[in-house]
Amino acid sequence: MIRIRFQQSLDELKERLLVMAGLVEQAIQRAIEAYSSRDEHLCELVKMSESAINRMELEIDQLALDLLAMEQPMAVDLRFILAVIHINVDLERMGDQAASIAVRVLDLGEQPNVDLPVDIPRLALLAAAMVRKALQAFIEGDADMAESVLRLDDQVDDMNREAFHALGNLIKNKPEQAPQALSALIISRNLERIGDHATNIAEDVIFWVRGADVRHHALSDVGS
């Protein structure tokens, strides 16, 4: 093995990204928990974590840029760094989605509690599972595991569509509950977007490991 210093830098890049991923996962978990418990303190923690996530995004970008410029990586190393750059963006946007959920939960806290015809916790569970699996696939460099994330995305999309439909009806039939329905609608959409970002991460893992670009392809194309 030669280029030891370069390999150490790649390891450092991966570690930094995983630290950032930890912050993002924590923000998502807290936002979900805040929804169930209407915990304002958790919402504030989620909002506060955004700046730390943003700072890490810049650091990781800089490290990746330095490695591209100074080490001129090739093949699997080049794909890894490109994947990290993409995943970095997705993680930052997941942090934004978590913060958006926190803001909506705070809004909901100011409204009378009503029964909403959506199962946000179930949708949240699925989206969070996608994130966990995508990150685990990245940690292990496991393209097969990454593929399984892509399959989950359809379920999240379906649930979001159902929520959109049910909440739309609620707004029509009970306009007085429109503020709560709108907040739930946005939260559902935030979770769906988190699922999309997890899908992107999974696609980047597949690109890194197999060299195959599966973005924008139907699931049936994956692995072919």
Binding site: M1, I2, R3, F6, Q72, P73, M74, A75, V76, D77, L78, R79, G211
Partner: protein, 252 residues
Amino acid sequence: MGVEIRVEDLNAWYGTVHTLHDVSLHIPANHVTALIGPSGCGKSTFVRCLNRLHETNPSARAEGTVLMGDIDIYKDASPVEIRRRVGMVFQRPNPFPTMSIYDNVASGLKLNGFRKKRILDEVVERSLKQAALWDEVKDDLKKKSGASLSGGQQQRLCIARALAVDPEVLLMDEPASALDPVSTAKIEDLIFKLKSQYTIVIVTHNMQQAARVAENTGFFLMGKLVEFAATAKIFTNPSDKRTEDYITGRFG
């Protein structure tokens, strides 16, 4: 115009040492093809077989087929004829040190019996222009020697000398490894321009250079051609683990 090269089952030896093993590949006309691999992998031996320079070593021999267009270079032509059709540029610029710039470029033609001054003048000017050296030396053609030029200029002079005999193929064995980055960039620009007229094969240790200039790249290891593919494929997603390990610096 350049000509395609088809190599089939090429083997080469130095004495009893078998240095090239059953190499087969297709080098398209008017393309730049890069050959990479660790020292001693056989890539230089391979290009030296393409103009029959390999056999100038008394202990060396080669077997197999090298088709340059329709001509089997080991059966249908003499080494002298092949070397006229296949120009070569080496790692270290090697102009004839005591000859003028003009005579350096004209030397090949003179060796082939050309004496008419008008033709020689035309060829020297055309070749120096093709090698992107004309503007820098046109006022000193007969005043300055080849050795008086900078390293980068000397290498372009050698390219002009190779082009003067109107070859179809240009072999370049690490043509920029002894040059500074600016001279290297000039040589690379030149390679890009020349490929419309010549088939170019370049041996290089500099993988970024291969990535920049070549459409196709072959990876040699221990006398075997491990992988040959589009350069973008080789450097982003090679098929063979040994290629990947080499270009990512995991061995070499």
